[in-house]
């Protein structure tokens, strides 16, 4: 029962992947990413049979970090640089949606080829993680705005977090907390960089960063 609840949550996270790929608005992309973060934060609570205070702490930290703090920082960066909210994709929305769907299906179909522990065989954790990582890659490659690339990077990290849930019993709390802290600081710095790019180039289009200026 716990396992099927977890699978429903992972299914939701996979649906949010496709939403992130298909949306043409920056706020919607950030919202999809933050909802995914909250869903990911709830998962450790479902995986443990008896509630441990350390698991609870990881869950609360993840929900606050990924669901509130990081999206808040991104929204602030978006407001201060006053960019227009339309995304300009390098890979169009329909092709990236189809790529993401193909990746999700491939992840579901190919997972049983991996040498997994028997207790993880029925879970959607590994295909979900693979699909989310792939979504992050597509967003990183296919979008031109710096903030949307940050979102891609964060979705990529969500996928890695899903992988990490496989090891929730083996991984110490300290590592988990360190990763979250690094991530928050990273997004904080990226917010500043985005502001700098905007001031130097009057645009957040990363294609402009490839040309040399005086």
């Amino acid at each position: 029962m716990i396992d099927s609840n977890l699978n429903v949550l992972i299914g939701l996270a996979m649906g949010l992947n496709l939403l992130a790929l298909g949306t043409s608005r920056l706020p919607a992309l950030i919202r999809a990413m933050s909802v995914q973060g909250v869903i990911l934060g709830v998962m450790p609570l479902l995986m443990e049979h008896q509630l441990d205070w350390r698991v609870l702490l990881v869950a609360v930290a993840t929900i606050c970090g990924k669901g509130l703090l990081i999206p808040g920082l991104l929204r602030r960066a978006m407001r201060t640089v006053q960019i227009d909210r339309e995304l300009e994709p390098l890979i169009g929305f329909v092709p990236s949606l189809l790529l993401g769907a193909a990746g999700t299906i491939a992840a579901l179909a190919l997972t049983h080829l991996l040498p997994l522990l028997p207790e993880h065989a029925g879970s959607l954790l590994v295909p979900g993680a693979l699909a989310t990582v792939l979504t992050g890659f597509i967003l990183l490659i296919g979008r031109t705005k710096a903030i949307s690339q940050v979102c891609g990077y964060l979705i990529l990290e969500n996928g890695i977090y899903l992988f990490g849930l496989l090891l929730i019993k083996a991984m110490p709390l300290l590592v988990e907390a360190g990763v979250l802290l690094d991530l928050t600081v990273g997004v904080f710095i990226l917010g500043i960089i985005v502001d700098r790019i905007q001031r130097a180039f009057d645009s957040l289009d990363t294609r402009k960063l490839t040309a040399l200026h005086e």
């Binding site: 099927s4 699978n7 496709l18 298909g22 043409s24 929305f93 329909v94 949606l97 189809l98 769907a101 299906i105 579901l108 997972t111 049983h112 029925g122 959607l124 295909p127």
Partner: protein
């Protein structure tokens, strides 16, 4: 004797009830907008009026201009006969009739498109191009939906496919089929049936040069197609195999009414999408149906 009675009852169901749906949609739209709106039976009056009128033929058009709308109407009616009607069952049922349903709908579309191009008007050609290019994506979604139903039930006969409950993928399939319904019947996010603007028309463009009885046949066929998709959607999602016949009929009628009202609400609350956003929505419908197929195939767990 009994089978003839059954056939007549079934034909009555499809032929007489179909024009009610556009009336209900218009009434819902009027309510939401705070108007009184046209009477629910408006399409019946329109059909009677059109039937009495003469036909204006372009000098360029061949007799196919009149014949093709009739072919479309017969194709849609044939498809409707294949679809089971709750407790009544299907008028005609055999192994693989789901494929025939898809092809009959495609034949109907082909004939409408051909008839539209008979007059040689560039405007109608444009509408045909739009209709057919949307159909490519809508049909992909439809095929994925039929496949997922077939995988779920392990059968390729519509009567067996639509009977069992869809399980976990029902929500995905319902959303996908609803978008396909809107696209196939040229309802609002794809096409606005109320306007006559060059920029926004798809289906209306194709029937612009038709008049009199052929136009009546086209309008009735379109209403029947709407009823067909509504019935398909309701039966695909709601399990009705174990209900008593009367209750099942009531559930089916209630479901059809609910979907019709939903179409009316969508039409009142949404604006028509820009053309470049339409493929994205149709791709979404395709993916929803594809994932319904995936869930049906994997049975929830891989």
């Amino acid at each position: 004797m009994n089978s003839i009675l059954d056939l007549i009852l079934r034909l009555d169901c499809w032929l007489l009830l179909a024009p009610l749906l556009p009336g209900i949609i218009n009434k819902v739209k009027a309510w939401v907008a705070g108007r009184r709106g046209p009477p629910v039976l408006q399409l019946y009056y329109d059909l009677a009026r059109l039937w009495k009128k003469g036909v204006v033929m372009s000098t360029l058009a061949s007799p196919a201009f009149v014949v093709l709308p009739a072919v479309t109407w017969v194709a849609v009616l044939g498809a409707a006969m294949l679809l089971p009607l709750g407790p009544l069952g299907a008028g005609l049922s055999f192994r693989g009739d789901a494929l025939l349903l898809l092809y009959l709908l495609a034949l109907g579309r082909f004939c409408t498109a051909w008839a539209a191009m008979e007059t040689g008007s560039a405007f109608e050609g444009m509408g045909t191009v739009r209709e057919v290019s949307y159909a490519v994506l809508a049909e992909a979604a439809m095929i994925a939906a039929v496949l997922s139903l077939s995988v779920q039930s392990g059968s390729i006969s519509l009567a067996a496919m639509l009977a069992p409950a869809m399980g976990a993928s029902a929500a995905l399939l319902a959303a996908g089929l609803f978008i396909v319904l809107l696209a196939e019947n040229c309802r609002v996010p794809f096409d606005d049936p109320a306007t006559h603007l060059e920029l926004t028309m798809i289906h209306e463009v194709m029937v612009l040069d038709h008049s009199g009885p052929p136009l009546a046949v086209i309008l009735h066929g379109a209403a029947m197609k709407l009823l067909l998709f509504t019935v398909l959607l309701v039966q695909a999602v709601l399990p009705m195999a174990h209900l008593k016949p009367l209750l099942a009929a009531a559930v089916l009628a209630g479901g059809v009414l609910a979907v019709t009202v939903a179409v009316g609400l969508v039409e009142s609350l949404l604006a028509r999408f820009a053309f470049r956003r339409v493929p994205l929505l149709l791709t979404t419908a395709f993916l929803l149906c594809l994932f319904a197929l995936l869930v049906a195939w994997k049975g929830g767990l891989p």
